[in-house]
Symmetry: C2
Subunit: 694 residues, 2 copies
């Protein structure tokens, strides 16, 4: 009988609600992420001890052998049980892996990624048509193994799984801030863990050109401050990704976002030059000159080199955010627009794309570009990556273009995981497409833009929230419950650390730098405050900056050190809701809320010695004061609520300006429990809703 996985908060797990659970009491909950297409829970567990062995049958290739080695290494890390590969006797092995046939030599969009995994108390079988399915199945097995009352074990389970969308990617901008190769690699390990299959590598920007070009060496020599990937390193990364079933789509952004190219090759630009590497953030004027034949000759030769370097069938040319100022300012270009009847700059960009596409195509690649490249007259095989949204994607699909969604998946905007999770590529206008149009919507990509990241905090900006997006793109449409997602995402966040990702460990180290030498009490006060704030959202950070940030600005402040989503504040909000839903009769919730609020009220006093000693703590002093005030307001509201007293007439009116003040960002930070305390104030003011439980 097919049933849903026994997952924390499972009763809300959409897709599986109708089917009752079996053995729910005997089996531990499953913490699988993404949720498989189908899960059937069995009885008992398969123990993983030092005798655990793996054998493989069917098709084999070195990549599969190495995948089994990596699997055993990872299983060893998870359990700290020394494991090594045993001789492959499939009749005796605890896990038998069968792969049917080879995949494509160069991994392709839409290859079969399905797998079947069966775990019983005596052994496990994984089978898949292609190595890609095998890789996914191994990751699922790793997620099944957990500590149990008897040892490390995987629960008995039968899983049939395949992805909902064929294009599930993460884009990393390694141009605004350079991202070292080892940082990319550990993030690719993360992608494998959540079954994403595309790494979109944003390689050029106003702020840097990051790949060695042997044909045009001034690109990386003049445009990168020495921070670029050699072609050997690129090969290394491509191999690393292929081993993990991940395609690598390079992006070289043209005609805008291109200042760094012009440092070495000013003659390609639409303005006179000379150019320097851009140090600031924003949209800038420099753009390729689409009217100059040299541009196309250059791009032809450049693409010839890069098309060979990057084997993937798709090639991303950017195409976004050309502000047109250099084009406006150049009389020759304006003359060209008129002479060719191009209407305006948008027309000129279309012209550019129509010249560029055949070049991309000539070098054997399919062109990918951001929304702006869409032009009905371009060949229908190009792919639109939409930062504008599902409706824009639907419009493209109607015109016959394929698309991938990134609007709603920008990790740098600081959205909650739940908000990302609610964004579906087939929502909005896309939900009403005909099925053949829907099929053109290939999936999506999360995007990690790099204004405020460096090797120290980048993992924390990607993980674990990226797992929510990965699940959206893999799991059935009906899997939408945020509570289940949160529980599984937090378990996954712990697992991801075994891959060397630093999204959890970075935090204490950064706070320790901020605090300097401190007592445990002082440091705990900073940790408490940090656990309750988030950086300001969307692209408002500059708005609250005291000095214009540049690529040289140290990222050592509290705003750089805190996760983009406060789990503590989220849980506090959930507890307030629970308390109010129970008409304040939930004594356990009452006690926990009071304990938290009391600790928060007293936190600022404990932080003060650090405020005196560290300029980085001083910056959050106002927020720390706000927390004390907020907690006091919350405690007052709790008192009214639990005593069933209506507060004095003007109490609410007095609290609101206080809360409004607390709402304002300070030090580029938001104090996240504020809305939940507002709910308490509202409820208290409404009066009588929560009479004394006695």
């Amino acid at each position: 009988m097919v049933s849903g996985p026994s997952i924390r908060g499972l009763c809300l797990l959409g897709a599986f609600m109708s089917a009752p659970l079996i053995n729910a009491q005997e089996q531990p909950p499953l913490y699988l992420m993404p949720v498989p297409a189908s899960v059937q829970i069995g009885t008992g567990r398969l123990l993983v001890d030092s005798k655990f062995s793996v054998a493989s049958t069917g098709y084999t290739e070195p990549r599969l052998d190495r995948a089994i080695e990596r699997f055993l290494l990872q299983l060893s890390r998870q359990t700290a049980i020394p494991l090594s590969r045993r001789s492959g006797n499939s009749s005796k092995a605890n896990l038998v892996i069968h792969t049917d046939h080879a995949g494509k030599e160069i991994q392709e969009l839409g290859e079969d990624e399905s797998y079947h995994l069966e775990v019983t108390t005596t052994g496990a079988k994984l089978s898949a048509p292609t190595p890609l399915g095998t890789l996914h199945g191994l990751e699922t097995f790793l997620q099944l193994v957990e500590v149990s009352p008897d040892g490390f074990a995987a629960p008995a389970v039968t899983i049939n799984d395949k992805p909902r969308f064929p294009w599930r990617g993460l884009m990393i901008d390694s141009a605004r801030h350079f991202v070292p190769l080892d940082v990319l690699k550990r993030n690719i390990d993360g992608l494998e863990a959540v079954k994403m299959n595309v790494f979109h590598w944003h390689l050029s920007e106003n702020q840097g050109f990051r790949v060695e070009s042997k044909k045009f060496p001034k690109l990386h020599e003049a445009g990168s401050d020495g921070l670029y990937y050699t072609q050997e390193e690129v090969h290394d990364l491509l191999e690393y990704a292929r081993e993990r079933g991940i395609r690598v789509v390079p992006e070289f952004d043209v005609p805008g976002h291109s200042t760094a190219w012009f440092v070495g090759y000013p003659e390609l630009a639409s303005g006179p030059g000379p150019y320097e590497i851009e140090r600031k953030w924003g949209v800038f004027d420099p753009a390729f000159d689409p009217t100059n034949e040299r541009t196309y000759k250059f791009l032809d030769q450049f693409l010839a080199e890069m098309a060979k370097l990057f084997p993937d069938h798709f090639f991303h040319v950017g195409g976004d955010e050309v502000n047109g100022k250099q084009w406006d300012a150049n009389p020759k270009i304006q003359e060209f627009i008129k002479a060719h009847g191009l209407k305006n700059n948008q027309g000129l960009q279309s012209y550019f794309n129509k010249r560029l596409e055949p070049i991309v195509s000539k070098h054997g690649k399919i062109m990918v570009g951001w929304d702006e490249v869409l032009d009905p007259t371009l060949p229908k095989d190009i792919v639109i990556q939409s930062w504008r949204g599902p409706d824009s994607l639907a419009a493209a699909a109607k015109q016959g273009f394929r698309g991938i969604l990134s609007n709603g998946y920008y990790l740098d905007l600081g959205w909650s995981a739940a908000r990302h999770y609610a964004v579906d590529p087939l929502s909005g206008a896309a939900a009403n497409l005909a099925s053949e149009e829907k099929a053109r919507i290939l999936g999506g990509e999360s995007c990690m833009w790099a204004e405020y990241i460096n090797p120290e905090n980048i993992d924390s900006r990607i993980w674990p929230r990226n797992a929510a997006i990965a699940e959206r793109l893999w799991s059935p449409l009906e899997v939408t419950d945020p509570a289940s997602m949160h529980a599984r995402m937090e378990a996954l966040a712990n697992r991801l650390e075994w891959l060397g990702l630093t999204h959890k460990s970075y935090h204490r180290q950064m706070l320790q730098r901020i605090a300097g030498p401190s007592t445990p009490e002082e440091f705990a006060a900073l940790t408490t405050l940090a656990s309750l704030v988030e950086p300001v959202k969307e692209y408002t950070r500059e708005q609250f900056a005291t000095a214009e940030p540049t690529s040289a600005t140290p990222l050592n402040r509290v705003v750089d050190a805190v996760p983009l989503e406060s789990a503590t504040a989220r849980r506090f909000g959930e507890l307030v809701d629970k308390f109010l839903r129970a008409s304040c009769h939930d004594l356990a919730a009452d006690a926990r809320l009071r304990a938290q609020l009391t600790a928060w009220r007293e936190n600022d006093a404990k932080l003060q010695p650090l405020v005196q000693r560290s300029f980085l703590v001083k910056e959050v002093s106002a927020t720390s004061g706000d927390l004390a005030t907020l907690a006091a307001v919350g405690l007052a509201a709790m008192d009214f609520l639990t005593k069933g007293q209506r507060p004095p007439e003007d109490w609410k009116a007095e609290q609101l300006p206080i809360l409004e003040q607390i709402h304002k960002p300070k030090g580029q930070l938001l104090l996240m429990p504020t809305p939940a305390v507002e709910k308490l104030v509202e409820a208290a003011s409404a009066g009588g809703a929560c009479p004394s439980p006695n």
Copy 2:
């Protein structure tokens, strides 16, 4: 005016007590470890911002250039300020480094390691006779830079520094458990940070032979399970250490501790064989046959190879713990003993050493061995490493032998940092040596034996306690205050993380594995319990084991995950002492003790869900129950004390068996706050000592 560093707990800082502080209020405390020979505090601070620059003058060599690069990288990590090397204009640089002349081509014992560092508000100057001093001075500068009210800064200060002992080392046993090269490297970074200058590399054991031998390949092929260092890797490590001013002394332990050699070469052993790699821990029978000329021929050829591979002038031949059983059982050997008038097995080992020493010497090395190699007839230039103690070292010094102390510095015994800190190479009988005899005591080495370590927890077994030993060996004799040491060691522990050491970060990850998916409250309960226990001390772990441990035993239990010293328990004990010294009138201490004890009393209930789910948590369930009981006893004692009530007649008699039961190790763990609670019980029973403060 020369004065002591303004260090937390400074008034107790022995050496500097007599000189008053200047500017104590204006200057932040210094967190230098080891404490320099002389420190003079100035006024103000030198800011470190993104314009910070370094220049060097005088003698230069590539190693110094790279050291400055590493220094800037490290300064960048500490501050998160992007820093890179500026052009070396010494008149404008913020830090000017002057090195007088080259050091020895192969680093030698006793080279000048002194340096002079002067920091003012406008710049800093570091000067040293040799690159070794320069390296030390750069580490001191890094320790001076801290967050301040104005930014990152180093306080104005003048330091003249040099070591007390010329041999300051750490031994790592990479034979019982293999230690990967990157783990060794990060620990060598740690040695550099605390100014240790010897890495003693224990490379062979019953459980493994860890170096590639081209001459005798069966040594590593048959004796290592494939876990060995290639000669290329050895070169790499030696170069890494030399860059950091650290000598590498290899140890190949003969004639005992040698089972792994005999797996490939059974003909060298005193027993018949065949041999397998030893999997258990302890002292084992296999030993080289000292009566067989093949042994010396083999060792001669082997040493010829290894003496070339390892350039240091010293070569360690082990020599410890030969149990003599194979010698006893071999009639030919017993006959040899008689024929040569050797008295007994000890005599035979002396014979062996007298044959071995000329071989070591012939290959250009000075022999080092453990206590057992000491024989008055051996040449006086050999060095004795003493696991027996300072008296044994003093006796050797009187006979003219040089020595280094390791007794008291065994990191695997689980001693507190304070206990290691109190051990001085010139204590005991050594204190009364004549000065030329004292000079033969070269210093000491901490020892990290590897029965219970792996790459995951090894750093936590070495750091930060090793820093206390490093300070003992570097700083003036009079620097002995444990409170000051603790404050500085904790600050250092945070700093060491920037080197990639995992002594802090490993802990949460291991606990997360033990807990499995869990709520924040459950996990906090496990963290609280883990913060209050320590593994059983000395070599008693086997005594409390349920199954005989081997090299394949997973090190995934709470006993493997907790630090060897509980800082929380230490602080609790200090607070109890403070409370009792104040005759229970210290209200702040009272409140904090009650808060801690109350939380501990309630902790077990919060841990119970994990006890049900995880076999690894279940193992500490009894200790968790003990904590609840202990806390309840402590709270009862507090009540008597603060009310000034004498407890009922039989109260103490009832508590003592409870505490005795709690004292007993469970799950190989000790519950560390127990003695402090006993003090409260004793004080309460004495009665009347702590009347109500009202």
